[in-house]
Symmetry: C3
Subunit: 451 residues, 3 copies
């Protein structure tokens, strides 16, 4: 790897142009408006239905969509600005790979979700939310490799990860009939373990050459808090964005709200108790306080109750801080997993916890508790096709499948990303914007002058 | 008070754990889903109602809820980052006490609002909004004591203040039939005078030892503007979040919008005219431009008209800037009230103005102006139970009660917070993150290097 | 122009007070609640309609309104904080002139849109959105003159520009029956060329005296990214905020979403390929990635298809980066247009592109594609009043009219703004907060210390 390999002048434009042109062609061939977005179909539908609200999903979903959108671009983007010299890349690469992923995800999810009888993918607001969800998973993996990859590597990773995400989601939701509205498994567990495996394969034994830049300064921590707070506030919208309308959507938002509140208190408690002098650590607050949202991602739409949600959030905060404090150093030292953002603590373990809580909740809450509402949450149980215990079993199997695809997929993709032509930064130039961005020395100094 | 008293290693975790465990137990015993959130009740209701919209409050309220949520966590949190060395605490303690308050408020407001026949508190999106409202009041008080209290003191303050807030709100809304949808009285006046009384009791004669840190730097003022702008933009949602559906919600949002716009112009005018060289002062812009939202909090849902709203906002901006310029120094010098954020100018006086405007509007607008819409705004007047003048009287009495409970409550709570065990910072370590947060010297320097 | 002319102590307050008092009086005389906001009219309407949703536009529009509101105040405000010493002015003057513009726009748009039979302007949520739209146009012009004008000049400019905006909008939408829901012409093209002409007239031959301040530092670029990302995320709401309900609103949001995604990829590609060493330039990312939203502003509600939208966005990104790289320096050197933010590249050319795409789409998509939905998009074509080709012609003529009014208006207003009494900054004090803001030397240093 010579210095010139990190010059993106030809590689990045060519890759972006080729990818975008392929996307445009595939959209031209495959994608049409759904009945809710198409001028002809919508009004045809309206005529039959004779109702202003009927057939129009848009108004129920769009505000949640925008909340999710904020989480993807502001939430993830600014959460990762905590590094002192890597703000442009955190927000900027987040922006780039998200813009690619949401287009590619529309195609992949549309393809696996099943083409319509006309052989086309029909899209509307729900496909936009699902594309954002899939993008979220890619950004979680980005968190694991943050600071150690070129934009080219990230684009390649996104293409493969989106594809595998769609496969896994298809297996879980369409084949196994698993419930995972907020994506504890499909989004968080998948994205985390995929990213951890990629960073494992890309292990850099001499990363300590960039160690002095792998930390925050005062301002960068405040920028990161913008990301944290947005993720925290809008997580109720995230978990409820694609549930059935009515009580499930309402209940999911509320369960997530209380899970996060409880998680915040346990995070502050654990952050203080694990510090030698009782001082709070920004890393914990920025990350672990969000674990309650992850952990409520599967069971949120079930009759988990606020009480149950608070217990889940409470535990998630504890697990997450302990992970940052004690497990991450072990993963790096023993398993050679260099997890920049600690996604294992925010998305990995809380995602698994969420999957388990989902399976347990499906198993232990009797179907009578749902009454007529059962079919909105567990349609296969309501129709008599399966028992709650069977549903719970499917939920548990889904976690295993997700872990398998994520780990195996991350392994393969990690090896692909090792290609020298992809222009990874040198060991002594990680966590550093100036490798890929115009940053005048003056500008750079302004950020890092006191380091 | 020795230095070690500010060490939170045991105190903070124990307090957080105990509070959260009590909350979880009480939620387990007392709280259930309401008919709009519960799978069984919702669908039962739907069967009777046979309507998609009927019985489903969620879609009318949730977007406003999220706007309010942003105001609580981003708005209040970042508004208080104006201090040069107190950004972590401003956002971080705001986050912590808000997460506690909204859980405790759910219980207190549910309790006072009346348990259902099953002896339970039934919760849904409206209780989430109300919990956020109550939290807002606590954060206003936080603004008065900002920089001078430990997180432990703040948690204790929050528990008491939420309780008293619920008592006051119950007296006003349930007993007296007062209208106060945007909380000029219940939220702003209460939070401000409660906080002012607490900071009075916690008066520090030697606070000038920390004076050099009680100011802003260039970046911290820009961070604070994030808070200001979010509060300003979403205030129409705040004031209208819990009004009746339809015209009252729409009208409240619009009145608030115009009140804020007018307030912004008078704020800039007054800021310039009160400066010796005509230069604008960031403190005024950050705070006084919001007074128009506070002052429209009671009358916003009434037939105040955009014209009336603009007059109210215009006056609120003037009063607020004059307060910052002339009254705050007097309050500190003569009454020993050290009001860090100037909450008296943003929430105190404009809150009182809003209460008076509410009473006057209730008195002078004839009920014919409301037509059939009267029952949505003044149900007791519409039912013939009371006259408009009686309603106006109740509005005025409510202000007096609010002031009394806030001042008396703040007095008591202030004395409780003086307990040395609660770990308040030393006089020379106020407005300083490093007392309670991990801030490396390098990080600290980065923020304050030029001071 | 002496130094004292920049002292705003009397001028600014007097102007603000006079303007606001005029506004209040005009609102008192002319403005009333519309049937959706008025207690009496709303409930009367409801009785006839006997429907919860009927007649209540508010719930369909308000979430979009808040997204637009965020774009106006956070999006535009923070996008312009990229300058190293001009953050207070960027956010603060944006705030001031927006607060003025939205009030004045309510009157002007209400007046031109036609007074009701009672001789009044009836306002509701849609007028609030339209007022915000008009404000957006003023803020685009502000981008062209950024750093070179006093707040007084900006207020005067806003008053005239809002008026001319309303005239142009009236001609396009009401007389010519042009479609321009997202304002490619009315907002972007108008605002850009108006501002460019103003800055041309205000040409400063000795502006190089302030050149060292006309650049960014590391933090200011990150603050600007907050603006960029918010504009990017909420542009689907912007373009769809005032379309007809149902499929047009849904389709517009979706078309904009894909246009922006494609634009982001072409922006990154072009930014890298035009740099000598392949490094990305923050100026391009902050601005050009948004051009896809501008370019979808007219055709977004038409049956453009996601495929078509992506082509449009793709081209917009390319054009915009090329503009920043090659055209802007020529405009400054040859035409003496000093365009601080490069609004010609973000709003000017992409606005023209959007207008052309709108005309072409109107011409080439057969009306059969719309079915019964035609009347929601092209009511005059649906009623048989005009052919699609005629509609397309009107769209093209509208672009010419917009350019003419913008350029001629900007010319006149530019000369008005040259009045020395308005207190423009000296050539050596441009791009500098301390001329109009209280900024202690220490504070100033903190921002610019490394320059």
């Amino acid at each position: 790897m010579t210095n010139s390999s990190t010059n993106m002048r030809l590689k990045l434009p060519i890759t972006c142009f080729i990818l975008e042109i392929i996307l445009i062609i595939l959209f031209g061939v495959l994608v049409v408006y759904d009945h809710d977005t198409d001028a002809k179909l919508f009004n045809k539908n309206m005529k039959i239905n004779n109702s202003t609200a009927g057939g129009n999903d848009f108004y129920y979903r769009y505000p949640s969509f925008q909340d999710v959108h904020v989480m993807i671009f502001i939430g993830f983007g600014f959460l990762m600005t905590f590094l002192q010299r890597y703000g442009f890349s955190s927000v900027g690469f987040n922006f780039l790979i998200a813009a690619l992923s949401l287009q590619w995800a529309t195609l992949m999810q549309g393809f696996f979700h099943g083409l319509h009888e006309d052989g086309k993918i029909h899209i509307g607001v729900e496909s936009m939310i699902n594309a954002d969800f899939c993008t979220g998973s890619v950004l979680i993996s980005f968190g694991a490799v943050l600071g150690k990859t070129s934009p080219l590597q990230l684009l390649i990773m996104a293409v493969f990860e989106v594809t595998l995400f769609a496969v896994n989601e298809f297996i879980l939701l369409s084949i196994l009939g698993t419930k995972d509205a907020g994506g504890s498994m499909t989004i968080h567990t998948f994205g985390a373990y995929f990213g951890l495996m990629v960073t494992r394969i890309l292990y850099r034994p001499r990363l300590e050459q960039s160690k002095h830049k792998n930390s925050s300064v005062y301002h960068s921590d405040l920028f990161a808090m913008i990301g944290t707070i947005y993720l925290w506030m809008f997580w109720p919208s995230f978990n409820s964005a694609v549930t059935a309308h009515g009580d499930p959507q309402h209940r999911t938002a509320m369960n997530t709200y209380y899970s996060l509140a409880a998680c915040t208190l346990s995070t502050y408690a654990m952050s203080s108790v694990t510090a030698h002098d009782g001082k709070l650590d920004m890393v914990h607050i920025q990350n672990a306080a969000l674990a309650g949202g992850v952990a409520a991602g599967t069971a949120g739409e079930m009759m988990l109750t606020p009480f149950g949600s608070m217990i889940v959030g409470f535990l998630a905060g504890i697990i997450s801080v302990l992970g940052f404090k004690y497990l991450s150093p072990i993963l790096e030292a023993k398993l050679k997993i260099q997890d920049t953002c600690g996604v294992h603590n925010l998305h990995g373990m809380p995602g698994i916890l969420g999957a388990i809580v989902g399976a347990v909740t499906a198993a232990v809450v009797p179907k009578e508790v749902y009454g007529n509402g059962l079919e909105k949450v567990f349609p296969d149980v309501a129709s008599g096709e399966r028992e709650t215990s069977y549903q719970a079993g499917m939920q548990a199997i889904s976690l295993a499948i997700t872990l398998a695809i994520a780990i195996f997929g991350g392994l393969i993709v990690g090896f692909i990303l090792k290609l020298p032509v992809l222009g990874a930064p040198h060991d002594n130039a990680c966590y550093e914007d100036s490798v890929y961005w115009e940053v005048s020395l003056i500008k750079q100094d302004s950020w890092s002058q006191t380091v």
